[in-house]
Amino acid sequence: MDPRRVPRTVSDPKVRQVGFFAPPDRTQSGPPAPTSSSPPVSEISPSGNSLSPVMIPPPRNLSSDISRHFPPAPISPLRGGRGAADSSIPVGSYNPSEFISPTATADFSEDAVSPGWSRKGNSAKFASSLPTGGIGMAAVKQNNVPASGLATVSTVRMPKAVTEKGGATGEVQMEQQPGDSKISKEKTTKAERRALQEAQRAAKAAAKSGGSKTQAAASGVNSINANTGKVPKVTPSKKDSSSVAASEKRGGDRQPDKDRKKDVPHPRMQFDDENRVEKAKRRSVVKQTEARSRVELFRHLPQYEHGTRLPDLESRFFQLDPIHPAVYKVGVRYLAGDISGGNARCIAMLQAFQESIRDYSTPPEKSLIRDLTTKINSYVSFLIECRPLSISMGNAIRFLKTRINKLALNLSESEAKASILLDIDRFINEKIILADKVIVKHAVTKIRDGDVLLTYGSSSAVEMILLHAHELGKQFRVVIVDSRPKLEGQMLLRRLVGQGISCTYTHLNAVSYVMHEVTRVLLGASSVLSNGTVYSRVGTASVAMVAHQFRVPVLICCEAYKFHERVQLDSICSNELGDPDAIARVSGRTEINYLEGWTNSENLQLLNLIYDATPSDYVSMIITDYGMIPPTSVPVIVREYQREHLWI
């Protein structure tokens, strides 16, 4: 249809705007990235990147996120000089990596786009010329998925001819090729149909928006689908794309505005708003008695009696009809504190959802999509009552709902269920398990012989890093800093000592004493917010602050699915409150019993904060599955990641 729409897919303004570079850069054939010559395929060898102390440079998957932060100036001259010569290695160009990145992990996923591309128009040529390449890539990925940077693989392997000729678009196709080759027939048809629908919708939207053609794709982030049909028409002409880039820019200015409004996270429940609290209470499944002595400063957060909730919930198992037993079980375990840690909670939740979806059957006269969504919503609100969701869980739920909403209408129930189950599996595998492996790979390169690594509490990612480094035979010592009331560090200590790692254990107050000898601080995070604030186990901020004071680098290990576009400056506006009684008791120290019966004193409150927010200036670098990034790059990842989310 409209030729101008196409390039948008190629380099969506939303993505493009992140960086500093000027549009012309984008449209021309990619400048060879300086690092593109580094290890060709999947082998991640971060040690090889000596570019910058903090960031891992491009060859990583999603290199774009980082490269975007390099101003374009230094690169453009390069392009002029050796563009042709180096074109065999197309990776570094801004264009491809830009939109490759969002799809990076989506590679194996059904790629709605690709079928259309490969079949239509000029692009067919590329597609047909490539099948082997694409399959090869897919194979590679499958083989060493866990370790490899997903995106890098495909890009690096890209045949010369394609990139030179087709410019950016060609690469996109390349990117999606593997997915295509993997995908089952049923999906391609579905995808096609959806693409068509989307396109029509987009066209309507465009017409509405006053005929500015460039807006056509305004239907949102997933507009990629809409474009699929048309891509091939325009792709090959480079000049065209450059001219389009300008128009697209215009469009780009407006479109994000629209989207941004949508993106703003809606405000959370404020528990000092009585009306809403009342409403919520009426709905609630778990009986919640408000705590008798509430901390004034935290009235906006739920403060409930903890002691009574668990037995109450347990006793009402048979009355909770709408809640699937698997979900119920997870909820009870959250409430009891059996499952803690962002990843564990998230995986448990997703698996419970899987379980419930498996047992799900659409009631008559209802559509699966709607009904399942409400079902999930009720589960989620049940889980929230058990324990407030972590941000990572929120992201996972968002993902799940998107997937459900995007199910094709004509799928049979079993197909739909299978597809959702598969999606959840993929999410768990890619976003959590694989991501952790990638993080471990990255972080291990930062551990050297003789290092003294300090960690706080117990983070699963950090533990894996330490164990892996130990397996590699690195000589290092670990300082485990712990704090009340959970004393999770003791568990970690047990496991590390069991593996033969030399450990020093201390409490949080002594952190300035031990910091003298520490060479690196490795911390986990519950979430990383888009202003670079690290939202994590309470006390993390103190550790990071002391480390900062002692000029010790602070590395935060966090999977990218935990990133969130919300911003936060302090630890008070949003947080979670634990059981205050946990503070009154000191385990193993019965002589400390001053606070027994503290509830009787109206002047005395106990505050058990769960999280705190570490300001970004205390963080030297964040290690994610997308590489090692400075905290300032978090919004970039968030942005990329949201798109990718929708694309999966």
């Binding site: 300035s512 120290r589 904060l609």
Partner: protein
């Protein structure tokens, strides 16, 4: 004599075993011990002050070595030495003045000293003035020659006494001892009432609706907060529990009982909460001459957080906590490592802590320091019983209480 020795030994053992908790208790006990030591000490007829100083130094050295980390012991020994020097000086000047006036009186308040045509002239007069007058720029300037002359006058004073009548001698002997003991009594009094003096200043620092954070527990802080409360100020207090001793629990309970809105938080939540806090008020273990603070463990973290959020960090310290020494690597050298049992359950981790197994060094170490060092730049204000002071003023404040000759407490004979 054996009586005193056994007392001293007992105290030494207590110090070595760390049986005495808290700098205030230590200071008080040290002062009392020195008092009884002085009262039982027989002094030679000549150069009494010198002999007494030597004797006290000898004991003091032992006491300090028994627990070098407890700076209060050293502080009190130095204070007592300073008292002896001062008393001796004032006696001498009085004697000199008295001699010139044909032994009119031994009165200490020789205000009219300057009027008399004294024999030893300027040196004695200046010395007398310095003992009686508060320090000022003028005395500082006048003291220039005097500081060199002090030891000399004290000894020469003794000599001159020796030459005078024996009856007077006896009187003088008793007089010196008596005066010293009186002064030490005053010192003990000061120590036990210091927190009252500090608490009196509370209303000047705490306003209505203030939010105050403190960590651990300190008698001085409790009194300070309660004094403000009694003056009808209503404010809220966050108490960080202060691992590994969790004294914050006790403090919170007491404050709540006294009607203050109290919230107990974990130590880890200090950073989270400090942005809503108006002032941090903490006690100290010792205050060094550079204005740095040896404080209960965890306070460095609190001070850093306070600095980050520009929250005033106020340290309450009795005068007996002022140490005239400058710290070097205080985190290590002025620290003490406590038992790991406070952190880990031995039953659970005993296998890891075993030095006997494997390579000889265990995989697991537990660090449990008792103190933190807060550098002077993190401290906003010291409140002592003499008022509020800047960290940078500490070195000057110290000169009121300690004589520069005593900074190193070591017997002359041994050196």
């Amino acid at each position: 004599m054996p009586d005193v020795n056994s007392l001293v030994n007992e105290f030494l053992i207590k110090l070595k075993k760390r049986k005495i908790e808290g700098s205030k208790a230590t200071a008080k006990l040290t002062a009392e011990l020195l008092r009884s030591f002085i009262s039982q000490k027989r002094l030679p007829h000549t150069n009494q002050a010198g002999a007494l100083i030597d004797a006290v130094k000898a004991v003091g050295e032992e006491l300090i070595n028994a627990n070098p980390v407890e700076l209060a012991v050293g502080n009190i020994v130095r204070r007592v030495l300073h008292i002896i020097r001062e008393e001796d000086l004032s006696l001498t000047t009085a004697a000199v003045g008295g001699l010139s006036l044909s032994a009119e009186s031994d009165n200490e308040d020789d205000v009219d000293q300057g009027d008399h045509p004294a024999l030893s002239a300027a040196a004695v007069a200046a010395a007398a003035r310095s003992t009686l007058r508060p320090p000022s720029l003028q005395t500082l300037l006048e003291d220039m020659p005097h500081s060199a002359a002090v030891p000399q006058t004290s000894s020469s004073g003794g000599d001159s006494e020796g030459k005078s009548k024996s009856a007077d001698k006896n009187l003088m002997t008793r007089k010196l001892k008596h005066n010293v003991i009186e002064a030490v009594n005053e010192l003990i009094q000061d120590i036990s009432t210091c927190h009252e003096l500090i608490a009196e200043q509370a209303v000047e620092h705490i306003h209505q609706n203030e939010v105050i954070l403190t960590l651990g527990s300190s008698r001085t802080v409790t009194e300070f907060l309660c004094a403000a409360k009694e003056k009808k100020r209503s404010f809220r207090v966050f108490v960080a529990e202060g691992a590994p001793r969790y004294q914050g629990h006790a403090l919170a309970k007491e404050l709540a009982a006294r009607g203050l809105q109290t919230t107990v938080i974990t130590d880890s939540a200090v950073f989270a909460m400090i942005s809503r806090v108006n002032m941090v008020i903490v006690g100290a273990h010792a205050v060094m001459a550079n204005g740095g603070v040896i404080a209960p463990v965890g306070l460095n973290m609190v001070a850093l957080a306070a600095q980050r959020h520009a929250v005033p960090f106020v340290v309450l310290a009795g005068v007996h906590k002022l140490c005239p020494l400058y710290p070097h690597n205080p985190e290590v050298l002025l620290n003490e490592l406590k038992s790991p049992s406070e952190l880990l359950d031995f039953g659970e981790f005993s296998d890891c802590l075993d030095f006997g197994c494997g390579s000889g060094s265990p995989l697991l170490h537990v660090v449990n320091p008792a103190f933190d060092y807060v550098p002077p730049n993190l401290v906003s204000l010291f409140i002592t019983d003499t008022g509020g002071h800047n960290p940078s003023y500490m070195y000057r404040l110290l000169t009121d209480y300690y004589s520069p000759d005593d900074l190193v407490v070591r017997r002359r004979s041994t050196s």
